[in-house]
């Protein structure tokens, strides 16, 4: 699914270069559930952006779902993001003036899908995250947890291969965080590949594999039996 080989990312800060990522070799298989952890400033978000084709690595090779992504131009990358990747951000990043339904339908606009079909699929995705009764609500009429669910529905609506979440529970209380993580576990069970950036051990505990970054390098990469998991009955 994901192959990173010798990936590095350096930022130019005036005269000096700052390496946010260095010598990253990483292989993530389909339907893995990976936690990306590390101290603040260790490069987690940078890694996420590279994985999500939002940013291009300075060096190295990145193959996503069999496609060499590193050499693609901006519009091609936009296409990859649209088709293969779903994003969930810490700050939700919803459009304030649009309803939940319109927010969720947005990625489908760029596929040239008719408004009726967009809305049908958005409704489906919102139902999937349990918000079928909040379709017309604006983000500011929703709770934090509901907003994050809308964002997750938006990430799912395009039926991506990969879901990337950067601190998805960072702005939520612990109870809501548990709900979100359980939703992620369900999605994982349904076959999705997930990479979740977090510095909370409670969140990482849901994952099957933990990759820890330290100063832009992979310091640890271990698999684990998820401490908490969705019961088969859920």
């Amino acid at each position: 699914m994901i192959t990173l080989a010798g990936v590095g990312k350096t930022y130019r800060l005036g005269e000096t270069d700052f390496a946010a990522l260095m010598d990253i070799d990483l292989l993530i298989n389909r339907n893995e559930y990976v936690a990306l952890t590390g101290a603040s400033g260790s490069g987690k978000s940078t890694m996420m952006n590279v994985l999500g084709c939002l940013d291009t690595p300075t060096v190295g090779h990145y193959t996503l779902d069999g496609e060499a992504v590193a050499g693609l131009d901006e519009d091609a990358l936009a296409g990859v993001r649209n088709r293969k990747i779903g994003f969930v951000f810490q700050n939700f990043y919803l459009r304030a003036r649009a309803s939940a339904l319109d927010n969720v339908a947005q990625p489908l606009i760029y596929r040239g899908i008719s408004p009726a079909q967009r809305h049908a699929r958005a409704r489906e995705a919102l139902t999937r995250v349990g918000l079928e009764h909040r379709l017309m609500h604006k983000p500011n009429e929703l709770s934090g947890g509901q907003r994050q669910r809308v964002a997750i529905a938006r990430a799912l609506v395009g039926r991506p291969e990969l879901l990337l979440a950067d601190e998805p529970t960072g702005n939520l209380d612990s109870k809501t965080a548990v709900e979100i993580m359980e939703l992620f576990s369900e999605l994982h069970r349904d076959g999705l590949t997930l990479v979740v950036v977090t510095h909370e051990p409670d969140v990482a505990a849901y994952c099957h594999r933990v990759v820890r970054l330290h100063d832009g390098r992979i310091a640890e990469d271990r698999t684990q039996i998820p401490v908490k998991h969705v019961s088969a009955a859920a």
Binding site: E74, D75, A78, N82, R95, P107, Y110, R111, G112, R154
Partner: protein
């Protein structure tokens, strides 16, 4: 490659359809964003509104004026042509004078289809001119000799009495019909039929007075006198080669140019003018005056349109300014759109359409306002004709505002489209 795969992967929407949905979405979001900042959008449009309103106002007034003038001219027969002899300057200096022949008239009548009425006209004032007198009252108007069909050609008819007849002409009767102004100058009664007036030393009986035609550019159109054609020749003593001209009306206005060409070749043939030699005559439309007014009004319109066009550019800069602000404000939103897979051209189109919609709405408001303004002004001036907004002004104003929107939208839109997704997303 990307857009293609996107379309094919998902539901097989075809290219035209998906472009349509994209434009639809851009329009929707443009309207939403304009509505979201109602006051600001209105203020942004103000430059365009004022510019378009002033163009439309001026055009409406000038067009209204020129329409009412053309209507006045219609009575003068805008479907008439005048054929007169023309002497090139060189020949004129040598003392030569070209003349139309009396036979030209008959040829015109019988050989050209589509001519409705033909009448010859000559000056009846003779050399040195002659006064028209009624006792001690003297009038100085134009005197013409013509025939019965003059009234049909010129669409001017007697108010009292009768017009000149063919029998008047054949017998060279000493009769005249007079225009309203001439009647007044001669202090003749309202109905002057049966009165006698003196032209030079000869006495004429007034058999009719014509319907008044009113004033044009402050000149009376009714200060004239008509007598039979043959009478005029006899009175002026130029019987052999009179300096006549021919006025004729065409049945179908659209055939005007065609008939003009046919008359030209006929007269050239009759006058035995060899190819390459210049015409010894010319054909004029009798609505030259109306035309020259139209030209003046067109010039005014164009000049005003030009000046206001410049003010519209200022309006465009206003739009550009606000769009740039808007792009900055919506950097995060643009970042989200890009993260979700919006290609550059979509963002570009979104902002271009927004600028265009902004400008076109301003243009539409401006058209309405300009028309209302023109109407108000026209109503305030007594006797001023109603304003008229021609369709080309409306279409032009819309197109021009739209164009302004697009041109001044390009910079902000490309600024938005060129934002790097990650920077836009991180923008605080």
């Amino acid at each position: 490659m990307t857009t293609n795969t996107i379309n094919n992967v998902d539901m097989g929407a075809n290219r035209v359809q998906s472009s349509f949905y994209a434009v639809q979405e851009c329009l929707r979001s443009a309207l939403a964003s304009i509505r979201a900042h109602g006051l600001r959008s209105f203020l942004t449009m103000l430059g365009i509104i004022i510019g378009v309103a002033s163009v439309i106002c001026v055009i409406a007034l000038v067009q209204g004026l020129s329409q009412s003038i053309s209507q006045q001219f219609q009575g003068l027969g805008s479907n008439t042509l005048t054929l007169r002899a023309d002497t090139p300057l060189e020949d004129a200096l040598r003392g030569k004078r070209n003349r139309l022949k009396v036979s030209d008239l008959d040829q015109l009548k019988f050989r050209i289809e589509g001519i409705r009425n033909v009448t010859p006209v000559v000056f009846a004032s003779g050399r040195g001119g002659a006064d028209v007198r009624n006792g001690s009252n003297i009038a100085a108007g134009q005197m013409f000799g013509t025939t019965e069909s003059y009234q049909e050609v010129q669409q001017t008819f007697p108010k009292y009495g009768r017009f000149l007849t063919d029998s008047d002409d054949v017998t060279r009767r000493r009769v005249v019909v007079i225009g309203e102004q001439m009647r007044r100058d001669l202090k003749l009664p309202e109905n002057p039929v049966g009165r006698f007036i003196q032209i030079g030393s000869e006495w004429f009986k007034v058999v009719g007075s014509m319907e008044p035609r009113g004033e044009m550019f402050g000149l009376s159109q009714d200060n004239y006198l008509l007598m039979p054609y043959q009478t005029a020749l006899a009175v002026t003593g130029v019987i052999i080669q009179p300096d006549l001209w021919v006025i004729f009306s065409v049945a179908d206005l659209n055939a005007m140019e065609n008939i003009k060409d046919r008359v030209t070749s006929l007269i050239r043939q009759l006058h035995q003018i060899k190819p390459g030699q210049p015409d010894d005559f010319k054909i004029e439309a009798s609505d030259t005056l109306a035309k020259s007014f139209k030209e003046i009004s067109t010039t005014i319109t164009l000049v005003v349109a030009g000046i206001v066009g410049i003010s519209l550019l200022v309006g465009g800069v206003g739009i550009m300014n606000i769009m740039l602000v808007s792009v900055t404000e919506r950097t995060r939103e643009i970042g989200i759109a890009k993260a979700l897979g919006a290609p550059r051209q979509f963002i570009l189109m979104q902002f271009l359409i927004e600028a265009m919609v902004l400008a076109v709405i301003g243009g539409l408001i401006g058209i309405a306002l300009g028309y209302a303004l023109g109407f108000g002004i026209a109503k305030m001036i007594p006797n001023f004709p109603d304003p008229a907004v021609p369709w080309w002004a409306v279409v032009g104003a819309c197109t021009f505002s739209g164009l302004i929107g697009i041109i001044f939208g390009i910079l902000p839109a490309s600024k938005a489209a060129n934002l790097a997704p990650i920077d836009a997303l991180r923008y605080e």
